[in-house]
Symmetry: C2
Subunit: 98 residues, 2 copies
DNA sequence: GTTATAGGCAAGTCGTCACTTGCCTGTCAA
DNA sequence: TTGACAGGCAAGTGACGACTTGCCTATAAC
C-alpha cells in the first residue's frame, strides 16, 4: 500500500546512498562491479553479501530495478520514488533577487 | 561537515515524518500542541519525551528550527535540506505528452 | 564432466535507536 | 511564594537492522 517506509529505510544507510551514487555515475552494474567500485573509490571494505542485501533493500524501495542476463544481474537506478519526498513537503523556491 | 547523515536519519522514522506533516499543516507549534495532534489525528500514543527527542533529531538535521518565547518553544519546519536529495540524485523529468 | 564465476539463502552476532522512567529547571498565575 | 504548566536531562530496556558465516544454485569456460 504505502511504499514510503521502504523508501526512507533504504535512504537511511550511508552505504546504500553510496551505491546510488555509483549507479548514478554508471548505470547497469553487476553486484561484483559495485563491490569493486565501493572498495576502490570509497574505501568501503564491504562483503559481497552485505552489498547484495543493500541492493535488495534498494530494489524493494523501488530505487533500483534489476535485469537478469545469463549469470549476470544488472542493476539500474530509478530516482522517481524520490519525487514523493518533495511532493510531501514542498520546498520553498529560492528567491535570490526578488 | 556533512549534515546529510543526520538528514536521512531524521527522515528514517515514521513518527518524525508525521511530525513534519503536522508542521506543514500548521507551522510554529509547541511540543504539547504537536503531542495532541499526533494523538488526535494519527492515533499515535507517543509520550511527551518521545516527541521531544524526535524534535531534537529533526532540529539537528536542520529540518526544524526552534524559537523560544517565555516558557513556550515554537517549532518551525524548514524543508530546504530536502533539496540536497534531489540535487544528489537528479529526478528524470516526466514526459507525459512529448 | 569439471572448474571457476556470479549470485542466493538462512541463521547468528552485535550495535544502534526509539521509547520509557524518574527527576530536575524555568516560567507564569494565584 | 506556592502551585500548575512547558520543557529538559540521563540512565535503562527492548527491538530492529547491518553484517558475518557457511553452504547452496546456476551459468559459462575449459
Amino acid at each position: 500500500m504505502d511504499a514510503e517506509p521502504d523508501l526512507f529505510k533504504a535512504l537511511g544507510d550511508a552505504t546504500r546512498r553510496t551505491i546510488l551514487d555509483e549507479l548514478t555515475d554508471k548505470d547497469g552494474q553487476t553486484l561484483f562491479e559495485i563491490c569493486g567500485r565501493l572498495t576502490m573509490k570509497h574505501g568501503l571494505a564491504s562483503s559481497r553479501q552485505a552489498i547484495s542485501q543493500h541492493l535488495a533493500v534498494l530494489e524493494q524501495a523501488g530505487l533500483v530495478h534489476t535485469r537478469r542476463q545469463g549469470r549476470y544481474k544488472f542493476h539500474h537506478i530509478d530516482t522517481s520514488p524520490l519525487r514523493s519526498i518533495v511532493e510531501r513537503w514542498p520546498i520553498d523556491r529560492e528567491e535570490p533577487n526578488p
